[in-house]
Structure formats: structure tokens, C-alpha cells
Symmetry: none
Amino acid sequence: MTPSPKTAPDASRRSERSRRAILDAALELVGETGYQRLTIEAIAARAGVGKQTIYRWWPSKAAVLLDAFAALGEEAAAGETELPDTGDLEADLKLVLRTTVDELNSPRFDAAYRALAAESIVNPEVCAHFVERILEPQLRLYAQRLARAQQAGHIRPDIDPRTALELLTGPLTHRWLLRTLPLTHEYADAVVELTLRGLAHG
Amino acid sequence: MTPSPKTAPDASRRSERSRRAILDAALELVGETGYQRLTIEAIAARAGVGKQTIYRWWPSKAAVLLDAFAALGEEAAAGETELPDTGDLEADLKLVLRTTVDELNSPRFDAAYRALAAESIVNPEVCAHFVERILEPQLRLYAQRLARAQQAGHIRPDIDPRTALELLTGPLTHRWLLRTLPLTHEYADAVVELTLRGLAHG
Amino acid sequence: MTPSPKTAPDASRRSERSRRAILDAALELVGETGYQRLTIEAIAARAGVGKQTIYRWWPSKAAVLLDAFAALGEEAAAGETELPDTGDLEADLKLVLRTTVDELNSPRFDAAYRALAAESIVNPEVCAHFVERILEPQLRLYAQRLARAQQAGHIRPDIDPRTALELLTGPLTHRWLLRTLPLTHEYADAVVELTLRGLAHG
Amino acid sequence: MTPSPKTAPDASRRSERSRRAILDAALELVGETGYQRLTIEAIAARAGVGKQTIYRWWPSKAAVLLDAFAALGEEAAAGETELPDTGDLEADLKLVLRTTVDELNSPRFDAAYRALAAESIVNPEVCAHFVERILEPQLRLYAQRLARAQQAGHIRPDIDPRTALELLTGPLTHRWLLRTLPLTHEYADAVVELTLRGLAHG
DNA sequence: AGATAAGCGAGACGGTACGTCTGGTCTTGTT
DNA sequence: AACAAGACCAGACGTACCGTCTCGCTTATCT
């Protein structure tokens, strides 16, 4: 059917054992040595795997890390399919942004997250996958909660939920990326408050 | 005072000609081939310079690019020491954010800017220099304008200008980095309006 | 048994094709540019081979050249396992020394031979291999012929064959190395005659 | 008179102090690190001299070493303008060859001597200077003594003194260069005896 | 059950770039 | 003008990884 030039590997025969070992090794190594110094050879060696086994299934080290990070995220967010909705929008958003802050500050996520973000900035293809697999699932939850708040009349009806969402997460991301100032719960609270009520005086 | 193990080079004998050629070559090449494929060897070759002349004066390709980009920025922003202040805060901010949008969309800046951002995410040292040399000078202008608006009573007195600033630039940066949606003047306007007035309904 | 710090490469997987290409390239290049200007990079480039493939199998350019020259010698001296023995010692020795003279004068051997000799003078390790692989096999033939001559009573019984041998080859080598005077068949003959009969008058 | 393209330096202004320091440094370093690792930069640094001062007066590191070694030799052989002539040729030759053996075995001479020999093998230009400045003065003494022996009827009249000389020194050089066997007084004696009387039995 | 063939660990291969070292030239004061 | 100092262009060094390519070996299907 698809007589591709390089005959694609038969996924049904794939070694789950090797797949896991590679993803684990990638996460470990990116935490130990950083993304720049992360090499396919090192991943293969740590995973006890031939290099070809990596090249067979992934196009780049970024792709490996993306899969590894997605697996990590799926474990973490196993049940959380929805944001809390207590009726108090401000409280709910604070809760969630605080959670995001904690996640960004967690060393477990930090290295891999930064690696993927860095790669995404510079590599549109990786960026698309990153947004689709990692970011969107998280942001969708925000968007739903905001939409409900809009229906409930707590948010102006003319506002694009996408934009609203970016007003909330953008500042957090900004501070996380550039490390200008520490990323705290207080900051998250301030962002929620200001964003909801606006900067203007009267 | 000078406890350096490898005696530092004598900056007074430095070849200005080579310095310029290196910075220019770096900018050209990062635009042509992207940051990942940018190599010190290629920069040296393009600049007609020995590799050692680069290694003598810069610790990494990121540092070269940082200098190159800083030089670029200094040319561009030669006279602009202050943001416009027409008294109409919203209009002023829209004007400036639109300018920032144009800059981020300009192909001349894009490649180098992305490269430095990517490196900064992953490399705290480069990040610090990037923020200090490139980002701060720009943000300081925003901060001054916001402070004046605060004095004039257009912005609530209890707001931290730094945070206010991040509310404005964070969303732009977010969209630029992740390429989720196009970065337009309309978006800049919306960010200004919403940030000033808040999302909340009444 | 194998306490090597860097695990040794698997010789059974070695590419014969590359090995030959490297040896050939080394001989060509040493002839063209001389030993001093011979570089590993140039050998690799000429042979169409990665540098690492050379470094994997040889410790230095001298070692490459040694192998190359040994291969050359083995081709040339394929069948010659013994010196001629016509019964006339003087005639036999003249024949062989003339052959040696021709070899030393041949441009095909000259460059590589000189390179190895030069390296050997200065580098005991290379010297040992050079003597063992290249020189000994040749000298052994002389030694055998001289031993037989001794048994036949043509040479004094108290003479060390090793020393006798050096009396014959030493002068040739001397003149070849230092290029003081041309190395001719006549000279070879004179050395044989004088060495056999002595300088002393009566 | 000689409007050479690169105006030749004015030798009358040359710094004797620097010249000596360079020659001394060269000898020291060749003894410490060997010829291969001897670099112009290291000589300049050790001598407390600018690199250009070396390049101004010598064409290559071999030339420096040649001068250094010549200076060394001239000190050593200050008075010895002639070989001993006791009338007993064999005894005289043994004495001289033993002296040569001692010199070749002396660590002070060894490194530099080997370096120059190695360079000479591979570099005809250096070779010519080496022979002319270092070797000839020594060999001339042998040649004179042999000529006198010939006049006195102790050596056959039809023998070329040059060849005779090479019969004596060739074997020593051979053994020294290739380190096949130790270079001893006994060996020197044997070479003299055999060379004078010949290998042939009756 | 034996043959066939794919994925696998291993690692040699042709390459590219690294960051360092040295060669030989040029430049800038100093003596 | 020679000198000490050392920056400069050039390019080889030996190393580290890249992504591709065989090798046997182990499995898993398919005759």
C-alpha cells in the first residue's frame, strides 16, 4: 500500500522494554547534564540499547524527549480531566495557576520542560508537536473553565477565551523562561487579580 | 585582581576589524542556517578570521550572537531613549506593543532573537546576559511610562510596575515563542485593552 | 587480560577496504609532500575515510607509515626467503648489496624509508617496530648467508655474524642517510671487497 | 647590493644576549621534551624572547638546533685539532672510536644529535648544513690520520680514505641510530680490528 | 518444526565540528 | 632598528557525536 523508500519499521514487533528504557534514560540524562549535552549515544548507552533502535523510532533527540515528557505528564495528570469549578472564578484560577507555578518550579519537570521549550522556539516542527501533545491538553482545561465563567456572566461576553487564557499564562511563562524574578504563589495570585480587574484606575 | 589561570588577552590590541566581521558573519549565518547549525568554524570562515580569534574573545557561540544582537539593537534604538507620552496611556501602549510586534515579526531580528531566547531558557548564564543587555533596556522604557501613568492616576497606585509590565509583554512573548496563533496588531491592541480594563464583567 | 581503559575495537569487523585505502594514501602522500607535511587529515581525505578510522587502528602517523611500508615490502619480497648461495661469498654479497643500493635509490621506497628512519632515530618505540618489522627480516638473510660462509671456512670462525653484517650494511646506510656521496654499485662492491679482506696492508 | 624582497636584518645590531638565550633554550628543551615536541614558541618563551627574533635569524627550528649544537661542539672540541698519532694505527683508531662511542652515549649530546640526524634524513638542506658544520670537522680528523697511515704503508695504497672512514664510522652510526644492540667500547674495538684485517679467513 | 525475517545490542564507518595548539606574519610599544 | 610581547590568519591536532551501515543474536510469525 505504502511502498515507502525506507520501509517503515513494523510497530507491532517493537520492544516495549527498549522504548521505556530509552524514555527513562532520556529524562534522567537531561536532568543530569542538560539538553545541550544530551546525546543520542549517551541515551543509548544508558538505556542499554543500540543507537539504531533510537533512530528507528524517533527522528531526533527532541522527539525522544517529547515522548518522554508526554509519558511523564500523562502519569501525573492521569485523572485531572477538568479544572475545579466552585463558582468562584478568581479562587479557582488562583488555585490552578498556583499548581502551574509549582509544576514549573519542580526540578523533575524543569529540565525537560525547558529543553522542549528551547527546541520549540527554534524548531517549528518540534514546536507544533510540543504544543499539541503537552501544552494544548493543559490549556484546554483553562479555556473550558473560562468559557463557563463567560456563560455565567463573570467574564465579559466579547472576550476571546484564547486571548484571556494567554493573559493569564503569558506572564507566568515569561517569568519562568527568563528567570527575572522568582515565580511564586503570590505572583500567580497577583496575575489573576490584575487580569480579572484590569490595571486602569477607575 | 587578575587571578586568571590563562592570562587574559590584551583588549587594547584587539582588532576592531575582526570583531565587526565576526559579529556580522554570526548574524548572517544564524539567519541563513539557524542556530543549531550555526558553527564557530563557519563564522570564522565567513568572517575571514582564525578560529582562535573567536575563542580568544568569546566563550561560546551564544556569547558571540549576544554581542552581535546587542550591536544590532544599539544601532536600531540609537536615539529612542523614551516611550511616547501623549497623555493617553492606552494609545501609547498600543503604539509600543505594535512596534514590538513588528520587531518580533521582522525576519532580520527573528532568527537571532529566537536563538538567544532558546539558549537562555536552557543556559542561565547566557540568560542573565541576555536579560541584562537586550531585554532590560527595552523593558525599562515600559516601566518608566507605566510609572508616570501611575503618578498621573491612570493606574491604580498599589500595582507593581514590574508585574504590570509582564502582563503586557507576557502574552505577546507567549504567542511569539509558541507560534500558536499569528502575532498581529489587533492582538497587541486587545492585550492592552484587556489588561488595562480587566476581564471581569462588571 | 584486557585491562585497556578504552575498550579496544573489534578487529574482526575491521574494514579491509579502508585499511588498504589508508595505507595506499599514506604512501602516496609521503611521496608527494614529505613526512613532515604528511598529516592524518590528508591521509583520511585522500583515502576517503573518517579520521577516527585511522585513530582507531593506529596510534600515530608513523605507525600508519610503518604498516604501509611493511605491506610494500611484503609484496616486493614475496618469494625471496633466502639470499643466493653460489659458493662464491664475495660475488653473492656484492649482488645483494647492489640490490640494497638499488632499493635505497628507488624513489618508490625512498620517501617512506627516510620518514621511518627519521622517526625511528627520535622515537624508540617506533624504532623497535621498524627494526622488527622491516629491518630484521632483511638482515636475517644476510646473517644466514654469513653463517653458512663461516661454516664453509670462508670467514674466520671467531667473528660475530651480527657484527660482520653491520660492517657491510653500516657504510651503505651511512652514505644513504647523509647523502655525502652518491650510493653506487661500485661503492657496494668496494665495501664488500674491503670488508672481506681488510684495510691493513700486509 | 642585494635588494632582497624582505630587507635582510642588520646583523651588526643583533642582540648577542638573545642569541645565546635562544640556543641554550633550544638545547635544554630538546633534551627535556624531544625534537618532535620542541616548538619555536616554547624556545621563545624559555629564552624570554619574542618569536619574531627567532624567525628573523633562523629559517626553521632545525637551523636553531644546528647552531646550538655547533656551539656546543665547538666548546667541547676547542683544542682537539688532530687525532693522536702514536704510530700504532689500530690503537689510535680504537682510542678515537671509543671516544666517539662515549659521545654518542652521552645524554648531553644524544637528544640534539638525534634530532639533527632525524631532520637531516628527511630534509636535504638541513642535511647539507649538518654534514658541513658538525660532521665534516670530525671526519676530517679521521681522514687525515688514515692518509698518514697510508703514507706510512700501514694501509693499502689503492684505498679511498673516504671509503675507509665510512667502514669505520658506518657500523657505529648504524648501531647508534637503530638501537639494535648496545654501543660499547668492545664493539668499537671489534670494528677497528675487523675493518683493518678483514673478515675473510686466510 | 523449521524456515524466514524483523527487531535488537553492538559498534565500525564516513563525516562534521569541537576547542586547543602551533606555525609563521604583523603590529605595537620600548630600549 | 632590533627587540619583547602577543594578536592575528591558518590549519592540523585528537575527541565527541552524528546518522548510516553491517554484523550475529534473539524472537515471532508463517509456512
